[in-house]
């Protein structure tokens, strides 16, 4: 199996003049992108003496951002992309935790990140990288390709390490489903701070497609227009973006007619959304996939067409399909093989959590069978087979997904306790966060919310913060979630 860089170079060598990226009306060929990758690598190596530099990428979706990713891998290093539009304090935590050797930034990088970085990093403006050639000596590659930070239950985001071998495997194995070619145009909607955004880049550019970053204020809220304008053929996002198109009355053959594939992952896809989609675009093939950041890529996938999708709608969500080659999906329940926690077994799981051995040991279990050792990741998702189809039916713990963004409710509670509330407990009610707090003295909620905006993603901001005399407890002394659900529905304390 080829490494991701080898896959990319194969495309450069086979079709140097094909467009690798079309962005803001400009076209960049594979040969030009390869040159930019080398210049980026050269700049990183000039700045850092480390053999395998750690590179923080604070650049919005653009050719420079993609070259920063490839350039880091060329040096043998590890990159960590951040969401430049994310909460400032959260990004500062990532900088402090990752401790980059080099910070690659552009004009979208918040000043707080630049102010945070001088002590720990060499800073390079990606728009001012000099056109120098990369020296030809080989660079030994780190086994880690990148680190992405997700919501953590300790109140701070946690880094998930993706191995270069696993990323190569995922890019290679998913091609059997998508069959990407030179004629394809692959959308790049997801922020690069998320693994789906990173995979857009490798999936497209390692298979010869043209990558189309979906940027600009209008395209971000009305993305179907960008599909039409750029003649996108493959779309990948969380289902919430499909919902955004539905709400904007954008799901039509006029706007989405160029698409041949839509790939959804990261949250439940709904039967209603598929009805709307296939009604407007019967030519489409839709993949509903399941995977976690900790499993690098997709572990199950369901290929849906207008003719077969109803057979996968036996629940309130769409079935997540069958095991992708190289992965085994098990349901760990109380006796029944038909339901339980979804456990992913395979050789290409994440290397673990960034600088957190204990959490890594707890989440990734080793299994021995004779001399063979495999690893299993317990996802915390609850799965159930109905009529032979596997459905993901929510979480077993307090992690929730709101519009595709992973949020640990414990992180919100932790913030509220740090703000002075003696006790706090948040629930997801009607798709929104509702926090309950105990409060014995005056606390300025407006001030708490202002600070919260700086530290938590917008989806984690509670719709309501309700003061209760004391959090209701069940017979085991644990917070009574059912009682909080009742209170959230308007019941009296």
């Amino acid at each position: 199996m080829l490494d991701i860089l080898e896959m990319f170079w194969a495309q450069v060598s086979a079709t140097p003049d094909v467009a690798a990226i079309i962005h803001a009306g400009n076209r960049m060929s594979y040969a030009s992108l390869a040159q930019l990758n080398r210049e980026m690598a050269s700049a990183i190596l000039s700045a850092s003496q480390n053999t395998n530099p750690k590179v923080l990428i604070a650049v919005r979706q653009s050719p420079s951002a993609y070259a920063a990713m490839f350039g880091t891998l060329l040096t043998g290093g590890t990159f960590c992309p951040i969401n430049v539009d994310g909460p400032v304090q959260r990004n500062i935590h990532i900088v402090r935790s990752f401790i980059p050797d080099v910070l690659l930034f552009d004009s979208s990088c918040p000043k707080e990140i630049l102010e945070e970085s001088p002590a720990v990093a060499h800073r390079i403006n990606v728009d001012e990288v000099p056109p120098t050639e990369l020296d030809s000596r080989p660079h030994e590659c780190n086994e880690m390709a990148y680190v992405v930070f997700t919501s953590g239950s300790s109140g701070l985001p946690k880094g998930v390490k993706a191995s270069r071998k696993a990323v190569s495997y995922v890019v290679h194995s998913e091609q059997q489903y998508y069959r990407v070619t030179n004629g394809d145009r692959w959308s790049q909607y997801s922020n690069l701070g998320y693994d789906m955004g990173i995979m857009d880049v490798f999936q497209a550019l390692c298979h010869g497609a043209t990558l189309v970053p979906i940027t600009g204020p209008l395209n971000r809220v009305m993305p179907a227009r960008a599909v039409k304008d750029s003649e996108v053929t493959i779309w990948q996002s969380v289902p919430s973006v499909l919902e955004l198109m539905i709400q904007g009355n954008e799901v039509s053959s006029d706007l989405l007619g160029s698409l041949r594939l839509m790939i959804f992952c990261g949250e439940p896809l709904l039967p209603r959304q598929l009805e709307v989609l296939f009604d407007a675009c019967p030519q489409l093939t839709v993949f509903n996939a399941y995977g976690a950041t900790e499993t690098t890529g997709f572990n199950t996938i369901n290929q849906l067409t207008k003719d077969n999708f109803r057979a996968s709608c036996g629940s309130s969500t769409v079935a997540i399909g069958n095991d992708v080659q190289g992965w085994t999906v098990e349901l760990d329940g109380d006796g029944s093989p038909e339901e339980g926690e979804i456990v992913i077994v395979g050789d290409n799981l994440s290397l673990g959590y960034w600088q957190d051995e204990e959490r890594t040991r707890m989440a990734f279990k080793q299994r021995r069978k004779g001399s063979e050792v495999t690893r299993a990741y317990h996802t915390g998702d609850y799965g159930r087979r109905i009529d032979g189809n596997l459905y993901c039916q929510g979480r077993l713990d307090r992690q929730v997904k709101i519009r595709g963004e992973r949020i640990e409710l414990e992180e919100i509670d932790d913030f509220l306790r740090q703000s002075g509330y003696p006790a706090a407990y948040s629930i997801l009610h009607g798709g929104e966060v509702h926090s309950f707090v105990e409060c014995s003295s005056y606390i300025d909620e407006a001030q708490v919310r202002t600070q919260m905006q700086k530290e938590l993603p917008v989806h984690a901001l509670p719709k309501l913060i309700s003061i209760v005399t004391s959090l209701p407890k069940n017979a085991n002394g644990k917070v009574d979630r059912q009682e909080l659900e009742r209170l959230a529905s308007g019941g009296a304390e």
């Binding site: 600009g216 009305m222 955004l244 709400q247 519009r403 929104e432 905006q453 719709k463």
Partner: protein
């Protein structure tokens, strides 16, 4: 013609309460005002104020302050 209350329009678009909004409210700052909320706000402004939906308007009307200024301009012009 009386000028509609911009707070009511934005609260209605975001499905939130009027009292949850203030002059500092804005996209990615206020509960519900994410990309979905912003789309709803822009569509509501198109309906009530006739703004054109383009890059400039989507970027400009991302804060309560900018929306208040838009209403002030429109009402002042009508008066």
């Amino acid at each position: 013609m009386s000028c509609p209350d911009p707070y009511d329009i934005v609260a209605d678009a975001l499905r939130s309460k009027r009292e949850d909004l203030n002059i500092n409210s804005g996209k990615y700052r206020t509960h519900g005002w994410d990309s979905f909320g912003h789309l709803a706000v822009i569509l509501a402004l198109e309906r009530t104020c006739g703004i054109a939906i383009d890059n400039a308007s989507v970027e400009e009307y991302a804060t309560m302050k900018a929306i208040l200024e838009l209403f002030e301009k429109q009402c002042y012009a009508e008066a």
